[in-house]
């Protein structure tokens, strides 16, 4: 399969009064057409920044993002907006704050169409918006409702309709279900999967919920402090986790089954600061297996098996 998106050595640094914050540090990823890549990690590990940098909501510090072979990270903004913005869309995390409270449902969905498809007439825009509402399962009677009258699940459907209205082929889903109740979460996840099957969409699915990411993704990348530390097919990570951090992350998930008593690997401490990181393994402060080498050398992402890469000096030991 061909790659729709290729991310090459992407970096995004923010300057802060205390130094450079390495939010995304040297990330390389390939995303195949029609597939879903899941990005997991704790808060502050740079998953959202990665998504926003792909969208050009942040400008990359260095590195490339190839969309069908064209570098979209370094082209002039004007050109990006004209030719590529409508192909790459985003669904935002919080359906409560990402919608303008003074627009009704129809206006909200019409807005991106109006901005990006200037050749359409008013009636065509309205028809297109109504078609989107039907597609995501919003009843016609809600056209004139305002976001505050709707529940979280319906609001998130508006967010999805807005993203889909421009016929994109790549959608960055930034924690689209974490603000929702489980019964609503299931509805939205099924909707996203059905849309993908119908329209051949490619997703980047950012979340901190491992069971959600396993359910929806084909490939998974685990991030820690701005770096991808493990990358493999979704099934593989739950059967043959290699990196100590991924192991800890998995063992921390409470499983809704009374009979499974797990060996917990409890991490001490918390994420270290991503400001001016030293040249060492980023996970060294919390890793139970850390050695001298880990403090002095930065491990590279190495491919150990087909499609399974890990950034750890002692990865072979954990296989």
């Amino acid at each position: 399969m061909e790659n729709l998106i290729e991310v090459k050595n992407l970096k995004k640094y923010f300057s802060t009064p205390r130094g450079e914050l390495h939010a995304v540090d040297n990330v390389s990823l390939n995303i195949e057409k029609g597939k879903t890549i899941g990005i997991v990690g704790e808060s502050g590990c740079g998953k959202s920044t990665l998504g926003k940098t792909l969208m050009r909501l942040h400008n990359a510090t260095s590195g490339q993002v190839l969309y069908n072979g064209v570098d979209i990270a370094n082209m002039p903004m004007k050109e990006f907006k004209k030719d590529y913005r409508s192909n790459i869309q985003m669904i935002f995390q919080d359906p409560y704050s990402s919608l303008d409270p003074r627009m009704n449902v129809l206006q909200l969905i019409e807005e991106p169409i109006k901005v990006n498809m200037k050749n359409l007439s008013k009636i065509e825009i309205k028809e297109k918006a109504q078609e989107m509402m039907e597609l995501v399962g919003l009843a016609k009677r809600l056209e004139n409702s305002y976001p505050h009258e709707l529940d979280g699940g319906r609001r998130q459907r508006i967010g999805i309709a807005r993203a889909l209205s421009l016929n994109p082929d790549f959608i960055v889903c930034d924690e689209p279900v974490s603000a929702l109740d489980v019964s609503i979460q299931a509805q939205i996840l099924n909707l996203l999967q059905n849309l993908q099957a119908e329209r051949g969409l490619t997703y980047m699915f950012i979340t901190h919920d491992m069971s959600v990411v396993k359910h929806i993704s084909d490939d998974i990348a685990v991030m820690y402090l701005g770096q991808v530390i493990e990358k493999c097919p979704a099934n593989e990570i739950f059967k043959h986790t290699i990196h100590p951090y991924s192991q800890a992350l998995l063992s921390a998930i409470p499983i809704p089954n009374v009979h499974v008593k797990k060996e917990r690997m409890i991490l001490r401490g918390e994420l270290t600061s991503p400001i001016n990181p030293k040249k060492c393994c980023r996970f060294v402060a919390r890793c139970p297996y850390a050695t001298e080498k880990c403090h002095n050398e930065e491990p590279e992402l190495r491919e150990l098996k087909t499609n399974h890469s890990v950034a750890c000096h002692y990865a072979e030991k954990f296989m």
Partner: protein, 327 residues
């Protein structure tokens, strides 16, 4: 059999505003034994937090009303106590951990002072003694005692939640109510906090009500589990009962809608519709509109009563009514 520390009977709580009456908690009853952990599960708007606030006597004044029922702690009805008496109970006998550690702490007071405050209020001791106690509490929750002069903004989310727990446990309460204590935290931090709570609970034999929407957390922490829907207790039993043998259609549906780590499914099971609006409850069973086992009787009949399936596994569903009548 150990005695009941808390016994809630037929509790009804309404929020009354000029426009509408929200029936937040409808006739719930449960008991909590000493040293036990009860998990209270349900979706947003199910009335979990309202129940907790009702027990604490912290319902919003003028709007929240306890319409009927009793809440007995160690045989004393908390609802008959004056606000002054309740203040002596809160923090000393019952403590609560709130959902969001970021906003639960006072930003302009050092954390040491905030822990010492509880001790000073409830126990006869000097400031210096209270301060020493505060430092001990910090050490107990795994924060170096030297940091007692730091302010909340100097701590991370996980550490703030530890401080909130330290405040709650400072006077060794008999009952701890934890309202979604780990929802705002990352999984690795959640694992740390849950581990610590379990250890402290065992050491002090504290009884606990753990409010959560995460069934995984309940399976790991709790002895008993109560499932709430639209202000009603729809199912109650030991965690083994609820997880191995769920009986209420809502519990079954809830369980099926969670993506599983060890099973592969193509599409998730979906509970149709939305969570029932507690200001506009349907007649009869409040889950009937979303239920896949709905019968003709569900809407016509008055709300289903509680049925004991044996061994204290309680279910509120008409499906089980005939069996009772036979008995």
């Amino acid at each position: 059999m150990s005695e009941n520390i808390l016994s809630v009977k037929n509790l009804v709580i309404h929020y009354e505003t000029d426009e509408e009456v929200v029936e937040a908690v409808n006739n719930i009853s449960f008991d909590l034994k000493k040293g036990e952990i009860l998990g209270l599960v349900g979706e947003t708007g199910a009335g979990k937090t309202t129940t907790a606030l009702g027990i604490m006597g912290l319902l919003p004044t003028r709007v929240g009303h306890v319409i009927q029922g009793s809440i007995e702690l160690d045989g004393e009805n908390l609802l008959e106590k004056s606000p002054r008496e309740m203040r002596k109970v809160r923090g000393k006998k019952i403590s609560m951990i709130f959902q969001d550690p970021m906003t639960a702490l006072n930003p302009v007071k050092t954390v040491g002072d905030q822990i010492a405050e509880v001790v000073l209020l409830h126990e006869r001791c000097s400031r210096a003694e209270a301060m020493i106690r505060a430092q001990k509490m910090l050490a107990m929750v795994g924060i170096v005692p030297e940091r007692y002069k730091d302010y909340p903004h100097q701590f991370s989310g996980g550490m703030k939640q530890r401080i909130v727990i330290a405040i709650a446990l400072a006077c060794e309460p008999e009952l701890l109510i934890a309202d979604e204590p780990t929802t705002a935290l990352d999984v690795t931090i959640q694992a740390q906090i849950l581990d610590m709570m379990r250890k402290l609970q065992k050491e002090h034999n504290t009884s606990m009500i753990l409010i959560t929407h995460d069934l995984g957390v309940v399976a790991e922490m709790c002895d008993h589990c109560a499932v709430m829907y639209a202000g009603e207790l729809v199912e109650y039993g030991t965690v083994e009962d609820i997880f191995d043998n769920p009986q209420h259609p809502y519990t079954v549906a809830l369980y099926k809608s969670i993506p599983s780590l060890d099973k592969d499914v193509d599409r998730l099971h979906v509970v149709p519709g939305m969570v029932t609006d507690p200001s506009n409850l349907p007649s009869g069973c409040s889950f009937s509109d979303r239920c896949d086992k709905k019968g003709d009787m569900c809407n016509k009949h008055e709300a289903p009563g509680i049925v004991d399936l044996g061994n204290g596994h309680l279910v509120k569903c008409l499906k089980y009514k005939p069996e009772v009548e036979e008995k």
